[in-house]
Symmetry: C2
DNA sequence: CTGAAAGCGCTAACAC
DNA sequence: GTGTTAGCGCTTTCAG
């Protein structure tokens, strides 16, 4: 049986309340007694029972993390960041995977909410209203999704797209295809906006080919439509899609980057291993997770602000900057129709 | 404020204990009162506070999962399985990532142990003694690692290697290189044994090229040594290594499978996307996670057995069967030296 | 600065 | 079948 606070108290010859204070408000207790308590704690290997503490303080020392799919390298990266930073704060992390099921999401989060101090929702698929409802129950920090009034960590998708377009234009491309992800996805929308702004500013053409699953298969499915646009370059929703494109283009004997340049987004590990290696916009995944934890914990420490939605502007959200990683899948535009 | 059991009791016109019973031992309470309680629960949206319950029952309804690296697709798969199955049992999962740091592992697990009913340790790097010490603190189930007396879920590595060798031999290969993973890795050792048995049984040669990091870079590093063995086929520790091999062989102008056949292990998503697509031994990742949860929960329900190490043999461990997935990276042996 | 007492929300004996 | 009582391990008034 683990030692309790009373065991420590008895051994140190003090009361339980003194032990409690010595541990949480050290200044409030005499240095000598504090030392005796410390010795007893050491000797017994005492660790306070967090459940018992939580019962009275109302804080569990636990946060929740909800992701659509742990097996997706992007989310795995975020989870790693969340987890590492939480540990630094001595906070435990409940992880839940919705399996890309938007219907399950809300219920899952509600269930989680009862057991944690707050939750990090990564790329939630729910509607803004659903998210708002969840935020009634518990403190929420969003990652990779903006919803009115909710604090979150986001990527500067517009700028990432600008970098990708600038790179392609510098290579001589004048017509760029765009393979969007799920229509409901917040990043699809923002990448689309960034793309339209960028092509307009640089006086080139954008050829959107619609919305596809954010997977390898989605890329395979999109490839032929991309070719049909006559574009000499294509930007894909993410690296998985870009790698799917690569595969199908290869089967069709279309050379990358000879005939078509391909750009992805995320810089998952696989991108380096693709052939040709994939040019991509690196989105700092772990960093997003770390920042989300910091933001969440700061909200928890200042519940008034969080409740009123009056989080200091600086802390409300943070736009993470993507970085273009140039690899072999992009090269100079050659004389294809539309070039 | 969330409703408490007393709010429900008041609303239903019964005592708190009756509510408690209606929820956990429904048979012990009159159908009529049970209905009244149910209605009150419904109306108030009551959910029992798990921390409070845990304080008295000694069970937290939470398990821990410790993995070396969440960003590794193999562990992500296991985590997904653990997480999904735990949810089915209404059990929450604390996830901790040791960041491949064996030194951090033990401390991390001990800290976790205080807050959970039991832990799943996936591919732990610690020594058998360290694991035994952890098992003193809490109920442990191992995944992908056998240690004396501890229950666990493992893969039948011997058989997986046998399948891979049989496949290669059928293709006419007579000399097979083996790129091992970390020497301390349990699976490296067992795959080595399986390999030696298989080549012996089939009267072909094995050419081990040493131990490499279980990564893409490890594969890159091993490639030239593999070529130097004169083997016509190579089996890599895992898919990441195999994909690294593929990359380096490609740079050197060595054709796969024309000059050399390559086999990986795990069947991570990336394998399908490699070029040529990678022949591999599929290790059921999520399945391992699910079984680990089932095993852990069954141990928790039968603490005597767990404590005494007298788990029924059938439940002690399970050997998961790998399945050879043949793709384009393996083909008939051609006339190379040693063939 | 320290101790006694109360109680967080819940379940488990024990009565009725 | 149901209510009463006690107490899980801890923190927090409130006295002193």
């Amino acid at each position: 049986m683990a030692a309790t606070i009373r065991d420590v108290a008895r051994l140190a010859g003090v009361s339980a309340s003194t032990v409690s204070r010595a541990l949480s408000l050290p200044e409030m207790v005499n240095a000598a007694t504090r030392a005796r308590v410390a010795a007893a704690v050491e000797q017994l290997g005492y660790e306070p029972n967090r459940a018992a503490r939580g019962l009275i303080t109302g804080r569990t020392g636990t946060i929740g993390l909800v992701v659509p799919d742990l097996a997706n390298p992007f989310f795995a990266g975020v989870a790693k960041g969340v987890q590492a930073r939480a540990r630094r704060h001595d906070v435990a992390v409940f992880v839940a995977d919705t399996d890309e099921d938007p219907a399950a999401e809300s219920g899952l989060v509600r269930a989680l909410a009862k057991q944690v101090d707050g939750v990090v929702l990564c790329s939630p698929r729910g509607t803004d209203d659903e998210l708002a409802a969840i935020a009634q129950d518990t403190t929420v920090v969003l990652v990779n999704r903006a919803a009115a009034g909710l604090p979150g960590i986001n990527y500067d998708n517009e700028d990432g797209m600008r970098q990708a377009v600038a790179h392609l234009v510098a290579l001589g491309h004048r017509r760029i295809a765009w393979v969007g992800g799920p229509a409901s996805s917040w990043s699809t929308q923002h990448r689309g906006v960034g793309l339209r702004n960028a092509v307009q500013a640089l006086h080139v053409e954008l050829a959107p080919v619609g919305n596809f699953a954010p997977t390898y298969e989605g890329g395979m499915a999109a490839a032929d439509q991309v070719v049909a646009t006559g574009a000499t370059a294509v930007i894909a929703y993410n690296d998985l899609v870009a790698i799917g494109l690569l595969a199908r283009l290869h089967s069709r004997g279309i050379s990358v980057p000879g005939d078509l340049s391909v750009v992805g987004v995320d810089d998952i590990a696989m991108s380096r291993m693709a052939r040709p290696a994939l040019t991509t916009v690196r989105m700092p995944k772990q960093e997003a997770g770390r920042l989300a934890v910091e933001l969440l914990l700061s909200l928890l420490d200042d519940p008034d602000a969080a409740a009123a939605g009056t989080v200091p502007a600086a802390a409300t959200y943070e736009d993470l900057h993507g970085e273009l990683i140039v690899r072999d899948s992009t090269g100079p535009a050659l004389g294809r129709p539309g070039a």
